[in-house]
Subunit: 396 residues, 2 copies
């Protein structure tokens, strides 16, 4: 029996690839600082489990395919604070942002169709696009330019008759780059001129620092019929294991068709939805507190990183990631060194090699991604270990 | 902006199509007996919510992509009672049986590939196969023959070079038909001869009546490398809203490749997995009790149904569905009559018209599916209302 071409074209997670080696280091007694995955140590607000604990139904029944109305209404209220009028009819609750992306690609891509995405990009976009028979076409960005991509010169030459959408994750993963309002407007103009969908992955919406405003592509009225917002409770509420996401659009034809897929898979976890509804009723101060904490972590990471001679990168404006060039030839080789040969007082560190985030072969070989999801002290020590590791690595 | 051919080829749920009309009847004060959907009224065992209530982690974090080990081990122990040796490496926990089916089709079907499925069939197979670019080829079965399909004469002429798998839901939805061990063996032989995967959807495994043994395709050693088992907690534990399913196979190449998709969507709900692990630790008596209850409901339904002159159908051997021919020309027209014109003491009834379960145009126009998911008294009254409805309908 054969497997499909699609599944064979998919790749294993480059983020998880080094896990067995890290496990070996830990088994050997080393402490490993995990700066490699986006799993925050921030506590999930207690209201999530409280709401679930209070759920009294005797039968854990199917929920509505588009989501339970209580959650939909809480999300609707949340978007009102952004001046956006998102009704129940504009949203489908999904199993994480992942399912929202899968459903989106499946609904807009035919075999061989293309989606523009700035590289380095969140690798699973490749998996989701491939699942739908489509292809990611990268807009290449550079560490030296803070990974910015929103110019006409960078985007337009890549548009072909196969291009169906431009996908913007804003604030960005893995780079932490944040689009300006002017850049968003320009992307809107380009999408309109070339009749493209805008897939706006905004799961890090509130994590925009240094006075940057939290924004949404849904606020640009001129393109609201072509914007598909991907959202999730995972990062915003540090509830990654809750698997509650959203697909939001003012395009009723799009939502109606996605509903066929949603009905096919029946529904999203009932208890997770009950918990998520409580999360969206948290006061505005919650977002401010969490943002302040991540911003402080970013500052620590950036400060420590700049102590490394030869590092290239700009201070990221949002999310909780940072991508930078290190003064090493081969980042995977360096990571292997950190996990197998290096330690400082029995401690070492792990990051995500950025090569897997690039679609263009050969790029990213000297870049790493850090997720600043640990407390400030751990983040400082983690980056210090990278610095000490580089010194030891280049001295060999 | 255009939508994809795939999503446009999908259909809306034929089971949910009449919901708005039923709602209108209810708004007008009628009581509607819902025999149309597979949402049981059986209480979810309390251990599910108890385990979740006791979950103390402060961070609701990502689970392992293949599932939490505690759940995997509980499932492994469950399969030991079937004499099957299913280890962690043979399973991937999924978001319901739905995701298990989606991942399976995506992993084995190329554009235009075919899967054999007995019709009438669970309509969402069509959605999942279409998502993957594949196609369902129906093995047509008949009410007069109890919807049996497992003969060489019925199956072999349908096999082409495009056929990649035969999918058996056993016990069946929507027919309740149960395969004999000889029939399973024959399907195994055919799959081997024609190099096909066997997709064994066994979510109703324990619901086999009249002395029939609960069995699995995984027990047939000669085909264990080509069997993909789809499983779920939804029906077995009346936990449809928990969205916990499983994809199980001894084919390590298959599991390794599906893991790429599993990693792409990150993980399944953490709290649902915690609850599901408790469900799989229920004693064997739980299954016996639930089976006895459904069997009694089936007996009531069948007894009442046989009071209707002209009805054609056999007593189903398993699951909690029954499909039968009614003495009406057009089943959808009859259902519309029941919901809009008919009542008996202010009560009416709803079933699923079977036409949507057929891939062959024109079939099923006089057939209905009943889900015997309500208590015996309600089931008896529901079928009585069908009988009274037919009398009124044919008298017009």
């Amino acid at each position: 029996m054969k497997l499909s071409n699609k599944v064979e074209a998919m790749q294993f997670s480059p983020i998880r690839k080094f896990n067995p080696i890290a496990q070996k280091a830990k088994d050997a007694g080393k402490k490993v600082y995990h700066l490699n995955i986006g799993q925050p140590d921030v506590e999930t607000p207690e209201c999530f489990m409280d709401a679930i604990r209070n759920y009294e139904n005797k039968v854990i029944a199917y929920a509505e395919s588009g989501g339970i109305t209580d959650l939909q209404d809480a999300v609707s209220d949340y978007f009102k604070t952004y001046g956006m009028n998102i009704g129940r009819e504009n949203m489908i609750v999904t199993t994480g942002g992942s399912e929202a992306l899968t459903m989106t690609f499946l609904s807009i891509l035919n075999e061989g169709d293309e989606v523009l995405i700035a590289e380095p990009f969140y690798t699973n976009y490749h998996t989701f696009a491939t699942s739908a028979g489509g292809k990611v076409v990268p807009i290449t960005t550079k560490a030296e330019e803070g990974y910015h991509y929103a110019t006409r010169e960078q985007i337009e030459p890549l548009i072909t008759e196969k291009t169906k959408a431009i996908c913007c994750i804003n604030p960005g993963n893995p780079t932490g780059t944040v689009l300006t309002k002017e850049e968003m407007k320009l992307i809107g103009d380009i999408a309109k001129e070339h009749d493209l969908w805008i897939i706006a992955d905004e799961v890090y919406r509130e994590f925009a620092y240094d006075g940057r405003e939290a924004v949404s592509f849904g606020q640009i009225a001129e393109v609201e019929d072509r914007v598909i917002i991907i959202d999730s409770v995972s990062k915003r509420f540090s509830a990654c294991g809750a698997r509650i996401g959203f697909l939001i659009s003012k395009n009723t034809d799009f939502i109606a068709n996605v509903m066929k897929i949603a009905q096919g898979r029946l529904c999203v976890s009932t208890v997770d939805q009950v918990g998520a509804a409580a999360l969206f009723r948290l006061p505005k101060e919650y977002y401010e507190e969490v943002k302040a904490e991540y911003c402080a972590r970013r500052d620590v990471v950036y400060e420590e990183l700049m102590k490394i001679p030869g590092v290239v990168g700009q201070k990221p404006g949002g999310s909780f990631y940072l991508t930078a060039k290190l003064p090493v030839d081969n980042i995977e080789d360096f990571l292997m060194f950190l996990l197998t040969e290096f330690d400082d007082n029995g401690e070492t560190v792990m990051f995500a090699p950025a090569e897997g985030f690039y679609a263009t072969p050969g790029l990213g070989k000297d870049e790493m991604r850090i997720a600043y999801v640990l407390n400030q002290e751990d983040m400082r020590r983690g980056v210090e270990l990278i610095r000490l590791g580089i010194e030891a690595y280049n001295k060999r």
